[in-house]
Symmetry: D2
Subunit: 437 residues, 4 copies
Amino acid sequence: MISRYSRPEMTAIFDGRSKLGIFLDVELAVAEAMADLGQLPKDEVATLRRRADAEREKLLNPARVEEIELVTKHDVIAFLTHVEEICGIEARHLHVGMTSSDLLDTTLAIQLARASDLMLADLEKLLTVLERRALEHKETLTIGRSHGIHAEPVTFGLKLAGYHAEFARNLQRLRLARAEIATCAVSGAVGTFANIDPRVEEMVAARFGLTPEPVSTQVIPRDRHAMFTSTLGVIASSIERLATEIRHLQRTEVREVEEYFSPGQKGSSAMPHKRNPVLSENLTGLARIIRAAVVPALENVALWHERDISHSSVERVMLPDACILVDFALFRLTSMMDKLVVYPERMRQNLDATFGLVFSQRVLLALIEADMPRQKAYELVQKNAMRAWHEGQPLLELLKADPDVTAKLNQARLEALFDMGVHTKHVGTIFDRVFRR
Amino acid sequence: MISRYSRPEMTAIFDGRSKLGIFLDVELAVAEAMADLGQLPKDEVATLRRRADAEREKLLNPARVEEIELVTKHDVIAFLTHVEEICGIEARHLHVGMTSSDLLDTTLAIQLARASDLMLADLEKLLTVLERRALEHKETLTIGRSHGIHAEPVTFGLKLAGYHAEFARNLQRLRLARAEIATCAVSGAVGTFANIDPRVEEMVAARFGLTPEPVSTQVIPRDRHAMFTSTLGVIASSIERLATEIRHLQRTEVREVEEYFSPGQKGSSAMPHKRNPVLSENLTGLARIIRAAVVPALENVALWHERDISHSSVERVMLPDACILVDFALFRLTSMMDKLVVYPERMRQNLDATFGLVFSQRVLLALIEADMPRQKAYELVQKNAMRAWHEGQPLLELLKADPDVTAKLNQARLEALFDMGVHTKHVGTIFDRVFRR
Amino acid sequence: MISRYSRPEMTAIFDGRSKLGIFLDVELAVAEAMADLGQLPKDEVATLRRRADAEREKLLNPARVEEIELVTKHDVIAFLTHVEEICGIEARHLHVGMTSSDLLDTTLAIQLARASDLMLADLEKLLTVLERRALEHKETLTIGRSHGIHAEPVTFGLKLAGYHAEFARNLQRLRLARAEIATCAVSGAVGTFANIDPRVEEMVAARFGLTPEPVSTQVIPRDRHAMFTSTLGVIASSIERLATEIRHLQRTEVREVEEYFSPGQKGSSAMPHKRNPVLSENLTGLARIIRAAVVPALENVALWHERDISHSSVERVMLPDACILVDFALFRLTSMMDKLVVYPERMRQNLDATFGLVFSQRVLLALIEADMPRQKAYELVQKNAMRAWHEGQPLLELLKADPDVTAKLNQARLEALFDMGVHTKHVGTIFDRVFRR
Amino acid sequence: MISRYSRPEMTAIFDGRSKLGIFLDVELAVAEAMADLGQLPKDEVATLRRRADAEREKLLNPARVEEIELVTKHDVIAFLTHVEEICGIEARHLHVGMTSSDLLDTTLAIQLARASDLMLADLEKLLTVLERRALEHKETLTIGRSHGIHAEPVTFGLKLAGYHAEFARNLQRLRLARAEIATCAVSGAVGTFANIDPRVEEMVAARFGLTPEPVSTQVIPRDRHAMFTSTLGVIASSIERLATEIRHLQRTEVREVEEYFSPGQKGSSAMPHKRNPVLSENLTGLARIIRAAVVPALENVALWHERDISHSSVERVMLPDACILVDFALFRLTSMMDKLVVYPERMRQNLDATFGLVFSQRVLLALIEADMPRQKAYELVQKNAMRAWHEGQPLLELLKADPDVTAKLNQARLEALFDMGVHTKHVGTIFDRVFRR
């Protein structure tokens, strides 16, 4: 992924140095497990471990391994040769009974588990910010919109609570996705343990916090990675939903919120209204890139027989990229929501722009309750609503002036109907559902 | 979905009659909950329920509702009008304080939960068949292949155990996916419970085995449906993997298995070898159609504000289609695997087609163990392996005739190295992992 | 496709009766070509043609063919048996030297060519409507928006001209896509013409307005159908773009246009502002479904060897569906744009809502031209722009009252700078590019 | 894209230095066009050009521009500042009347046109190789397969001719795709030419071999890039088809071709049969990554109003990546096909593996022609075919020994029926179609 959309902590998980580090850790863990089981000489393995620890910096040298790979044309053999060069003869106890995929797939599992941990932490931070902003605006009235058209009032905090609930689901999904890919395979050429003891796999798995893969067919089955990637696709779509909300609310005509714009920051011109929601637009695009990883991951599942290697190029490119982008996007989204500038008075203006029409249904119900036939009540309300809309007058005033209405509902009753409280009275109940779980 | 790829039990869940039935059940449940809470007259609601039960057949009449919809241009209003026509004035107690989406989304949740139950049962049946066939062929030797090239031996049962493990994961995923979409919304126009008691939602949810949606914004959030559909996409990819395996094994040159071909069934010509794996080819195509639902479901998440209605057409078409196809494909796959004709002797022939080369690594290790330097051992094995391959002679015989080899390994030792047992000795361990969980 | 999103003329192209009709026409054309080449008895083929013409109604009976297929398990054989039952022994001259795919793929080509013709006509109608509306609103000023934020003025006609240009490109693309799939294969089992004369293919192709497929490998290569489907995907995305524009313009806060709402049509409530852009929302969803056909079509390309049959199920479902939806969506879009209600005065209000800030850049340039240093000019304009925006006053008035400004630009010059004409002066040039090509 | 899958010539088109070079060329071309039209002082623009040419190396300094961008937070402004620093005051004649997208989108058009030229050259080279190999194997008999099952004979050259025809279509498609994106926009903030003469756009377009965009709405419309990317997706799928063919043909059981394996190259072990088709497997994976760019490109079309910036991140990442991968994959495929090792004798063995059953249909037709009733003939052929298949005997010998057969067809006639010539007699006709166009 290009550096513009990458954060160093995530990028580091997938760089060449980290990969060699995990290679080394896994190979040593296998050798030590075999030594513990009496299948390799304990002292030689211990010697190897000491040397590897002492020379770790020298060992984690991707450039040198690539040099060797130019000759061997095989990345795992190149790595093992490199270790032997530095650690000496005892390195022959590495990779015994293993196949390359045992090392590659277990390493990938460790990388993806670490990447998941970063993304889980990102989600936790986002949730913290969303909760704080939701509580801050728990009572901030704003119009709810369906089809882009004003519907009935909600609060801005309630909107945010909805996003919180959605990202809390994503947190839970990502935990499950992490479990999907955190498995370990040390089972040999076609997964039969022909030359390696199944207990070794269990011991190595335990050491890295992984689960042994029940049946690996040279590779860890790719339905796991497909499920993992699909989960990232869903998270990306949730990011897009919140980004789209902000983009809408920042439109010139709506202007209920704005992405933070630093005091010294110059607008694009002498036009002070020209503050563009560039972060949320960017997040919308990033969501598209992340989602693009889903279909290839699904296509990767049907490998031929015990494995073919078509998945490899896809995963080399798209798995790191998807993780890097999810991390970057969550971080950007969190910061954006943290500093989001909210304009409650503007929300109120927009709410009032329909002259109280959002209360028309309540007036209708009150008239019916006051024994006016439904059809007559409907026509009466509609007539006044139409006038309010077309003449730009408050519906409440029109109703107060209509004798057919006031015959049934007095001024106090009418005013009570136009009480925003009805729309906010259960906000606390909903907040309890979201924030007290 | 076209009838060629549909099974009636699944289709019925999504047909017009079932939908009206659920509409009716949900609306009555809401009214009864309100009556229980003292918010509607208990006796009138009871009368309504009696009438609705008595006239159920007449009520579940999609053609009539569509007729009314031509006038009202609104499906929910058409339904309510229809109920009022038949059940009388008490029908006014239906839909009180609700918005159309409360009804539509809760109904969709019930349909998808039922569809999930069918698919879960399908998966259980597939697992039963896979387990039976795996046990049957636990010891049936066959060649494992990587890159489409012979690697080392496995058993056919072990292959099937791997698929069993994969579909067991899919079962678990589908259970989670079911929980994702089995939620209930009865919260009014923009989800604020402005005109309905939140307890009603809880009571209705309990009645249908659903969970109340923590925050519905007129609609149940679509990240749930995206996750559900993604899970179907993963299942489809697993179906494709097994289908691809069968297609490969049935190739003329491989011919280790064949889809069942009924005795009377005519081949496409007078060519008896022309038995095409048409079921598994068909499953491959169906997997592509099911997966096609994933991206639109992800695109559906970012609805505008509290909701727009762009998701509706996508879901009308693609959610039933995806469920119908998964059900059909799992059923077809189960039946195909149940009757699959397996040719163990042919597997053995293919295994022997590389003249024992699959044992070359073991010979190498034995020579090294017998103190031959690795490089010398490698060259010795390679020389004999090359002859075996190019002259078509058994490697074992060549080795027995090579004095450099026999100087280190006697005949008995050599024969012991060519023992298939090493590849099958841990099959039991793996089976325990898969079938004893 | 469900009937809600289907138009009969397109559906008819893909129904069972039409398919049998094309089957019959293609088979007869092959027989007649062979008779013309002296490879079949001319009189018997003529007899067959007479009978087939006379019994055409009886022949086009999908139910009967399906009945036979239950026995033969092969759709083409079932069809041929059915013809023989009705037309007698001369029917043996049908299908000589052909393979089923010759018939199926040539039939599909004819169906897709017809479907293309319908869609091309749809596009022509849309272009006509877009041109009319563009000319109607050639001078209707409205604000151009980037990032959803007001930028500089355009005209509504110019917006529509842009969509016209885009759909004119789509027309051209669809013509190319039609040519891609309008090919004919009559080349036998694996495309070698082993049992059929290549001239027959050419004669049949000419008869149906098709091109002979240069190399068919039993099937017509699927890169053609992938290109065709991708083109539909691009058209769908253009539909989405125009639909999204209308959805934005109909938002409560913007309200510059509205989808037509019939006088008698009831709103969803007593809220007259609640006119939802349901058609364009629906089109947005339909675009997602159409696009979903693209990936499976791409996945269909890599058939195994001379062909496998995995593409068949995908195409049975998705090719008709995609064509039906494109036709439906174009028709709906055309009608929507035809009747779209446009509010020029509201456009003007929105344009004025930024107090003339859209002219700030021109004032800046004029001050510089009048020899004010750029930095000073920028600060001067910015100061006044900020006041205009925050105090809600017209920028022009503020400038007129600022002595630093009037020292450089007199009243007349200032007023001239605030002339909308600069934004419309080249509309004619652009219209010439679009409508005079 | 990671360097493992990149070639320098393509990467260079998209690197920071090239981009600045095109930026400079476009800005200077605009200034010179304006000078030619008398809208800028000719001598000052000439001075600017001289300085820019003299300091070109210093100007193409992405690191310095990025430094400035850290302050300006705007890439185009940073570039212009950088030019002014180096070229002095005359640089104020750059970017007059332009908007950033004019520069960015025209630059992108130039980059994509250059990338297209590289890919077109790649396709030409592939076609040359495919033609040579097709001619080489014009008469090399091999079995044609449908459903993975042996069907009837073809030649290996004919297979390759089919791929040639497919890639020739891709060449034509890519030419059209190049034309789609090779347009130029120099039309100002919202495409109205408010501050720039439309003739400038035409002059600049001509200079870079581009077409003026008829209507740009600040940006060049993204349906063009969607069509371009879709075309790359189709090319990727064709690459996958040929790669899949090679993977199949290299299977251990089939072994009709092998990817070239250098003499010194070590296999993965002492198993000489273990030559894996790693290049074609890799190409299969790369095809998946390329295709992944299609959906985001389609999603990029529906930008909001005159433009939003959500497409930008998608294009920054996925357009270069897709071009780089197509170039890399075509190059790898060409080299692979160039050196592909073909085993005609193995093809012949596989052809014979069905004991002459591929001729059964011809025997059937001959018996009917010799006046045996079809049903009797069918049973007679089938009986012998079944024996041939199950007993592993040549069908021809069995027929010669069957008196029911020889009563109708003598030995010479029978042998004539088993002539491969029937399957190759029209290969020349097909080659003429492909290679003489």
